[in-house]
């Protein structure tokens, strides 16, 4: 009996379902960053707003990468429904704390897919995920660095204005 499932799709239904969950997660991230950009802009933190706009775009690109990969492998990509986006934040710092939480959750989720791929010996998807793992290094670094600015600059006086200015300059230049 021919292995028709394998003929039709390179990835298993479990991996396909995990990748679809990741598509939804990336879409959620993109929307939450957009909401953060809006909050920062409304409250006068223009550099941070630009930073979050860029982050929102990046997450959207990640979402599309997953989306196209599932389709290319013969799977079914599901366009996700994104709801429950928080629109208001209590403080400038809270925005960055939640941004870091979001990145940590994305990293964990990619690690979880990677673990499943290892179990199934799906080396093709593992190789595809390598790019995302590297990307997460940068994403987490940037989110952590932004929070660090709150510690080193301090929020007193014109502190928040300084932090906002420096958020726009955060760069990750690792050759490793």
């Amino acid at each position: 009996m021919k292995d028709l499932l394998r003929i039709k799709s390179l990835i298993s239904t479990e991996i396909e379902s995990l990748l679809n969950q990741q598509i939804k997660k990336e879409a959620y991230s993109s929307s939450i960053y957009l909401s953060m950009a809006s909050w920062c802009n409304r409250n006068g933190y223009d550099f941070s707003s630009d930073y979050f706009f860029k982050q929102a775009e990046e997450e959207r690109t990640h979402q599309l990468k997953f989306f196209k990969y599932v389709l290319d492998m013969g799977g079914n990509s599901v366009s996700p429904e994104v709801t429950g986006i928080k629109q208001e934040y209590n403080s400038f710092r809270e925005v960055f704390e939640e941004a870091l939480d979001q990145e940590i959750s994305v990293t964990n989720s990619i690690k979880n897919i990677y673990a499943r791929c290892m179990k199934e010996q799906d080396f093709v998807t593992m190789e595809f995920l390598n790019w995302f793992l590297k990307e997460q290094r940068e994403e987490e670094y940037k989110a952590r660095r932004a929070l660090e600015l709150f510690e080193v600059i301090g929020e007193e006086g014109t502190g928040r204005w300084q932090i906002d200015k420096h958020v726009g300059e955060i760069k990750y230049n690792s050759e490793a």
């Binding site: 009996m1 292995d3 394998r6 039709k8």
Partner: protein
Amino acid sequence: MITTLTQTTPWTDVFKTTKGAVYQCDEERCWYVDFAGKVAKFDYRCLLKLRKSVYHIDIEHALLNTTKDPDVEIIFICACDHCYVLTLLQIIALKELLEGTFVMLELNHILNESLVISQ
């Protein structure tokens, strides 16, 4: 809708229960589901859609439901020629049939992979 099919290509048994059976046709790259009085042809996408819609039915909720609604579910699969109108017992039977089918297809996949590796 009752479909009467004349078998022109060889079919392989995938999984059988007392209520129904699933056969695979390698030549046509499809499956034939013999259930609820009809034999229906499903391609890869439609078989996955059938599985998804059957697995999504909340059987427990339907069993505990005391309203006077008729105890039937309509399984309609988008872009597929077939539709099932099933009672709760039939849904349980179809779910069992599909679960068994996918376990067998998975087993077949593992066997095929092992054969390729050992060659």
